[in-house]
Symmetry: C2
Subunit: 694 residues, 2 copies
């Protein structure tokens, strides 16, 4: 059977419509539950308003940023407008805007639904674990389907309208810009609020986590939504679009009879369908274990995806079993990375327990053991990514020149194909986390809180798997973005009448120069975000102190006295954006400076250094943060002396260190790498034609 591009585009839009229909169905299903508790309704309203405030502000700054960038694109990319074709420049600028806009809309939808879902999940927890689980999960699934639907439709739309893969880079860069704001900005927001709330509430005043007297408590809940739901969604939108884009850019440069671009779309379409099936299959089993419900729906999605892509490979002309193998390898490696991440961060495994035990000797040992195991935890994931790249290479190299890299790109597409499912699992976490807080605020009783607790803990466990997955996928994606960069450089060199390059030689000191600097950038970027959280938390802590000092009756909790929640939200918002922008600019400027100094070869090295050290640090920070978090929870559950013990005190310090590691810096590194890779590809013409020293 043959499949044409036109059919593919129609199919993409059709499947997108199915996804949106499913999302609407799920959303309406969630809304069927009514919120009756007035306290909960009130707090949910405050959270919604806070989230809206943040997103409005964020999107306003982003719109400014996007306006500047799109004018620059219009003038300069892919080639200066006075030299090239104005229409292509216009297309690219518009594609860029579309990329930011679609990601923004998906994020907005996700936050909206999460907000409705968390109040309802709290209420439903009164009736037991099953309905509450489904509300949390299906609320998250709306975001998952929206993200995947938009990314598929966006890529298909751009390609269908323009027919040039290079313009897709603009779309992908748009998605990355937004992800940088959403993920890193949201990450700073959420940890600012979280740390300030803990420091002033739990530590200074000794009041519980979600006590409504604390002026930062709403900001904290807002943070869970904007950081974890919107940020994570934007991140995976970005990875998914980048994986498809790089596969398509490479596919365009390939010769041969294979239907390369069609294959990319078919895999993505099947991935979306499999995710819908997986989402529909999610049910809590008889033992009432939410973790296995989440995991088994992931495995269902994976199995359906593998079966359907195998069928497509058998049916469609020009589809290759080698590519199927590469993509299957990516998916399997993704699952394996997830499992090893779980080993390092799950409190029923030895590592978290050892870290908890180390806490008994004091906070320095909590930190040292967390750092050490975090370092070690990077190895299996990096070996996994390395092996899947190697297998994809060996499988696809016999197909012809350039197919090896295309195989790696398809491996990334394979890993990301089930991203709808991954996001559903991931967004489930903050929803039930918030539901737990709301259950406490609404006074729904010990039993309901326990139900919410067990849902929350499943969210934390599953998060490890999904995080491992998204880092693994990002790893493969950026390797293929490197391939896309080389394609673009060669296109630019050909246009300038120069000989193409065949690669980047490590023995070339210009490449090495790039590698060293590229490797330092993720460290600097992470540090700037962490310091940003720190500075911002200090601002918020003084605001909280001001409120406690100046609002009579607040500290004592007199009835009717409310803190000024919006001031804290304001500080978190303004600060997050203020701290984020320098970090983003440093990475982009470093890319440009390296390119101007050493040309395309230096940038090739820069990207590799950036990828390698970025992956290492992202894995390290995400996993050590996760294991500190869970070892604190493990101690709170009674181990090593339980709550209030020396070990607990130490574990709380470890958890505070881990907060910006795992929720701000670690997960933002992915986005930083993608942004840098896309900037490099977009500016390849400049780097190919000019360099200062080489």
């Amino acid at each position: 059977m043959t499949v044409s591009l036109t059919t593919i585009y129609s199919l993409s839009f059709l499947v997108m419509s199915v996804a949106f229909a499913a999302a609407c169905f799920l959303y309406r299903w969630v809304l069927r539950y009514k919120v009756q508790n007035r306290e909960i309704a009130e707090v949910a309203r405050l959270i919604r308003e806070g989230a809206n405030t943040f997103m409005r502000r964020e999107y306003k700054i982003l719109a400014l940023f996007a306006a500047v960038v799109s004018v620059l694109i219009l003038l300069l990319l892919p080639s200066p407008i006075w030299r090239g074709e104005p229409l292509t420049n216009l297309s690219m600028a518009l594609a860029y805007i579309a990329g930011t806009a679609l990601s923004a809309i998906a994020g907005k939808i996700g936050v909206l639904v999460a907000n409705d879902a968390n109040a309802r999940a709290a209420e439903a927890a009164k009736q037991g674990i099953k309905p509450a689980f489904l509300i949390g999960f299906r609320g998250g699934a709306v975001m998952g389907l929206a993200v995947v639907g938009f990314s598929l439709a966006g890529v298909a739309g751009v390609l269908c309208l323009v027919g040039d893969a290079t313009v897709l880079l603009g779309f992908s860069f748009g998605a990355s810009s937004l992800a940088l704001f959403a993920k890193a900005g949201g990450g700073i927001f959420t940890k600012t609020a979280d740390i300030s709330a803990d420091l002033t509430g739990k530590v200074e005043l000794g009041i519980p986590e979600d006590d409504p007297r604390n002026p930062a408590v709403i900001a904290d809940n807002v943070g869970d939504n904007v950081g974890d739901v919107a940020g994570m969604g934007a991140d995976l939108f970005d990875s998914n679009v980048a994986a498809m884009t790089s596969a398509i850019v490479i596919a365009q440069s390939l010769s041969g009879s294979l239907k390369n671009i069609e294959m990319v779309f078919v895999y993505s379409i099947i991935g979306l369908l499999s995710s819908i099936i997986g989402i529909a299959s999610a049910r809590i089993n008889r033992r009432g274990d939410p973790t296995s419900a989440l995991n088994s729906s992931t495995y269902v999605t994976t199995a359906v995806f593998l079966a359907l892509t195998a069928a497509a490979t058998a049916v469609f002309d020009g589809f290759s079993w080698r590519i199927w193998g590469a993509s299957a390898t990516g998916l399997v490696v993704g699952v394996i990375i997830g499992i090893t991440t779980d080993y390092f961060t799950n409190d029923s495994r030895p590592i978290v327990r050892r870290a908890a035990h180390a806490s008994a000797s004091g906070p320095a040992f909590t930190v040292l053991s967390g750092v050490s195991y975090g370092f070690i935890s990077a190895l299996p994931a990096m070996v996994g990514i390395a092996l899947s790249a190697l297998v994809a290479y060996n499988l696809c190299a016999p197909m012809g020149d350039g197919y090896a890299i295309f195989g790696i790109a398809m491996s990334a597409v394979g890993m990301l194909s089930i991203v709808g499912m991954i996001i559903s699992n991931d967004a489930y976490g903050p929803i039930v986390d918030n539901a737990r807080g709301l259950a406490e605020i609404g006074g729904l009783g010990e039993e309901t809180i326990q139900v919410a607790d067990s849902l929350d803990s499943a969210g934390n466990t599953v998060k490890a798997v999904t995080k491992g997955f998204s880092i693994g996928a990002a790893g493969l994606t950026v390797i293929s973005l490197l391939g896309a960069f080389m394609s673009e450089v060669n296109t630019a060199l050909a246009a300038a009448g120069k000989a193409p390059i065949s690669g980047f030689d490590l023995m070339d000191p210009v490449v090495f120069f790039g590698i060293l600097i590229g490797a330092a950038i993720p460290a600097v970027f992470s540090a700037m975000l962490i310091l940003g959280v720190d500075r911002n938390a200090q601002r918020m802590v003084s605001e909280i102190h001001r409120q406690f000092d100046s609002i009579p009756g607040l500290r004592e909790g007199e009835p009717g006295v409310k803190p000024e929640y919006d001031r804290c939200i304001d500080i978190a918002t303004t600060g997050a954006l203020r701290e984020l922008i320098p970090a983003g600019l440093v990475t982009i400027l470093a890319t440009i400076v390296v390119g101007l100094v050493g040309g395309a070869s230096a940038v090739g090295g820069f990207l590799v250094g950036n990828i390698v050290s970025g992956l290492l640090l992202a894995l390290f920070m995400s996993n050590s943060g996760g294991l500190w978090d869970n070892s604190k929870k493990y101690i709170e559950a009674g181990a090593e002396g339980g709550k209030g013990s020396q070990a607990h005190h130490a574990a709380v310090i470890g958890d505070t260190v881990g907060d910006p590691f795992k929720d701000t810096a670690g997960p933002s590194i992915n986005t930083q790498i993608t942004v840098v890779s896309l900037v490099a590809s977009l500016l390849s013409g400049l780097f190919a034609s000019f360099s200062l020293f080489v």
Copy 2:
């Protein structure tokens, strides 16, 4: 003027003799001071015995290890003995043994002299800062001169006897093996003792740092000697030999009229002479400032070196100004790296103060700010290394094929040429640190302790510069080892009748596979060392508790009651070696596995990944450890509430985290990288002829 290799060898031995004469003179000068205080003499004796115990044990295990490795070399390297020339194998095995032996002897001398010097420096501090400074400095200089003398003589000896640069790799590998034991083993030893002494003494019992009641106190002082003096000496012996070796291996493969090998030796000889002049010039100025005395002698050495090498370039036929430029660049960059390191770790600069200020918000913020600034501090050093590699490349590339890499190697030789001076400054630190402890134990009075304190603090400040220097030098050395690896691979390929490779292409997934795994190894290695310190400290803490519980009157400090110091030394020794060996084996095995899977290309990538992430982590850990240490001292001097404040408590936790960072893992990474690079070069024949998947 022409210079022949025979002249060079003679000159090398002559200059070595001068260095040894100078060392003997300095040692006798130190011994002129008599130790009169009986307490001090007794404790100094205990420290000497403890150090001897550790070194005897260490060298015994090392001898076993070396025996096994030398038999393996005899049988297999450079080619299997049944196929190649048995005489070459024998030479290489002997060279390996010589490498370990010379480094071991230098370490032994250093520890011996440091031991004699610290008691005398304590006594001399009674008479004022000048004599005490000179004893500390000259005691350290003995080690410096011994290390450089041995490395020069060893390299010249091997080359003069065998005439084959490949055999030199065996010598260098011997030096690396010993450095791994001395640096990482010594690092585990010293931090085990330090942390245990602090935890039980300062934290639990509230007794001062060097209180003789504490059973770990002697082990702690021994640790300063074996970790900082012997370990650092072995490390720089290793770097120096590796830099010369890689320059000579590359020089051998070059064609052209330049006197390449001669140049390497002339630069090293001049470096040693300049160090002697610099050492002789060290005097404390009128303001009595030991820091500027140490720094100005470094600058004197640098200036003399640059002048004399310029003269040599002008005088000798075939010497090149381009090479001189490359080497001068390395030296200047080394100084710049040192200065930036100082910026991040000196408590008169803003960074340490900011970290101290963050401590006021609690230990989590101490850790977060230290980690962040540590990350950022890696950037300037990595840019410096990258730029000096690039400059050396651009300077030397016009000289012909392969000269670019030779230029980088000479840049490393330039940086390391003044290593005699660097070691003198570095060994000064632990000597005056111990002197301070002895002054306290001997009850020499507040004024003497203050003198010792100011000497100690200068040691800490200068350490930053020397550490930056040695990491920078190691960075350039391993880049040139990469060049040596490629030379060896091509020799092996030529022997097997295969086509040579011209480089390692980043776009080749096999290379990328190696990079990813190579980058994870320094993280895993560091983690294993840190966890080793942790486990070992737990063993020692329980031993200390046992002694306090079972020796009557010890806790109360009754006169005549002594703890069993040797039990603690025993635990530190056994544990250090037990924890070190798995970490060393993991890195070596990873190299071999990657080579067997992906062949020479994968190993090339592996080395680069290892270098890049190793440099990043080494800089991060050394600098954040240093800044925590100094921010604690800054608070103790009265800032942020001074001793006993919340901030101080937090800063102590930061310092404990930093201890294994800066004294165990961080500085051992250099050695790990060198070991891996040499293993790769030695096994290049295997990797070139066999691989599983490629």
